[in-house]
Symmetry: C2
Subunit: 314 residues, 2 copies
């Protein structure tokens, strides 16, 4: 295609897309046959001169979703558009909304849904509509009795999801991480706790997010880890955590001793589930998202466009 044709294809595109002329009219205006105009427009599209964006908070990027499914072996992928996003909060909100939409549309409806907790999960619970399902019971899959004043968001999350879904919530009455291994064993042998974990193991689906390994982590905020602890984990290769368990870029546990003191389902238990929905968004979580997908921790990923593109780059 020479320069003259390239220019013509731009003129044609202007008339077609901005002025809503027919290819025939454009042909008359530019002294071309309408077939030539059609070919010029096809060329312009093919060469990437035409960009079509859908500007809407609920817009998704289907081609990227397909690539994620095909190239990264996911059962399903939901990628929200970043077009026109102004703030990180907006991106988070869009992703949470998309996750809520996905849950709502999920068939068959899981009778029991295992959930983690955190900012993302809380947002999802808030975006779910009342009556999004009927009879969906929720069970926590990792410890989450918070040590600080924001105590209760973990519980509130599970309760909101279950109530809006017309079911019951079963909370895991345990801290996320215990200081001593013995305490962890003791708690796990508690009849109630053991029962909840057993129920969690039998859940038909899991819904969880991932945290970045930095000082903004909910584990730091909740007091389970000190900022210095996180630094140590990062030094050992941690990129983030899933259900409280810190992993490296290959999805392996970074610190087995710490992991042994963490209450909840193991990563392998989640990995073996036929339906594990991970919701991960934001630039800070690119690395964890990659680890989660690489190590097949999830079968379904809900994320934003730029995170998705990051996954596909690798």
């Amino acid at each position: 295609m020479d320069e003259i044709d390239e220019l013509l294809s731009i003129r044609a595109a202007e008339l077609y897309y901005e002025e809503n002329k027919t290819q025939d009219e454009i042909g008359q205006a530019l002294n071309l046959t309408r077939w030539k105009v059609g070919r010029l427009l096809a060329q312009a599209k093919h060469r990437g001169f035409i960009r079509i964006e859908i500007l809407h908070p609920r817009a998704r990027r289907l081609p990227i979703e397909r690539r994620l499914r095909e190239e990264r072996g996911l059962t399903d992928a939901i990628v929200v558009s970043s077009a026109g996003v102004s703030s990180a909060e907006e991106l988070q909100a869009r992703t949470a909304q998309a996750a809520a939409d996905y849950l709502t549309a999920l068939r068959p409806v899981p009778r029991t849904l295992g959930v983690s907790w955190g900012r993302t999960l809380f947002d999802i619970s808030q975006h779910l509509r009342n009556g999004w399902a009927t009879g969906v019971n929720v069970v926590q899959i990792n410890g989450g009795v918070s040590l600080n004043r924001r105590a209760g968001t973990a519980a509130a999350t599970a309760v909101a999801i279950s109530q809006k879904g017309g079911g019951q919530a079963t909370l895991l009455p345990s801290p996320a991480i215990l200081e001593r291994l013995e305490t962890k064993h003791a708690i796990e042998s508690d009849r109630v706790v053991a029962g909840v974990i057993e129920l969690a193991r039998s859940a038909e689906a899991y819904l969880f997010s991932a945290g970045a390994a930095d000082h903004n982590s909910v584990h730091v905020e909740s007091g389970y880890l000190a900022p210095g602890d996180v630094d140590l984990l990062v030094a050992k290769g941690a990129v983030g955590d899933v259900v409280g368990r810190y992993i490296d870029s290959d999805g392996n546990i970074v610190d087995p001793a710490l992991d042994a003191r963490t209450v909840g389902l193991t990563l392998d238990e989640i990995r073996s589930s036929p339906l594990a929905i991970a919701v991960v968004a934001g630039p800070a979580k690119h690395a964890v998202a990659d680890a989660v997908v690489r190590s097949r921790l999830c079968t379904v990923l809900v994320t934003d466009e730029s995170t998705a593109l990051h996954l596909l780059d690798g």
Copy 2:
């Protein structure tokens, strides 16, 4: 349009624009008739959810051009797209290219073209192709013997335009601004200078740019004005200059005394021309561009998208 339809229109748009499905296929996928799908897509477009951009250095914004013609009374307007522009230089280059294109396509071909000088005009001269016209003579319309080492760009500009257009250049051998009024009168009464100005008055078309009233001005760079002089002009309301004459936002001469010492056509002489092409681009020139268009100094404007939108906002 309720929320459910809005969402459907987004889903439909994704399938239509990103997945290239037919409206019929979309209908099957979403359980709608194809007519409903067509209406949803029309709604999505109408509501501004669909943005189509032409990404190309030569792309223009025809709807904005039309608005400029209709709302600001221009004979013609050329607006280059800002989509995908990374640097100010790129914007300047695009605009210069568009101006060169406009000149090349201009019919009837002007026998004599009056030009000003400056960075923009130089860029235009460089973007013109050899043989862009045959027999176009060029005459300078304002003084421009530069006082510094970059002397010669003014002359080079006029010569390049005329040579590539198969004609002769007539230079105005005078400084842009003189220090004393008497000197200005003396120069103007010089037979050669008077002849050139007479020729300039008879030009069939004018091509000029406008400068912002700031320290980057070519007048400062060339030594005709000191930075402090510009500050004074700004204090008097100057927004920029056209052919060396500083104007306020209404297009009026800001400093009559200074203006009297400026050699070249007057603004009214340019204003009375049936074809006066102004080329003005860049955020710094929004104010001058507005003054130029408001005071009808030009009949044709070549500019960039954001400047054009600025003009239409007022």
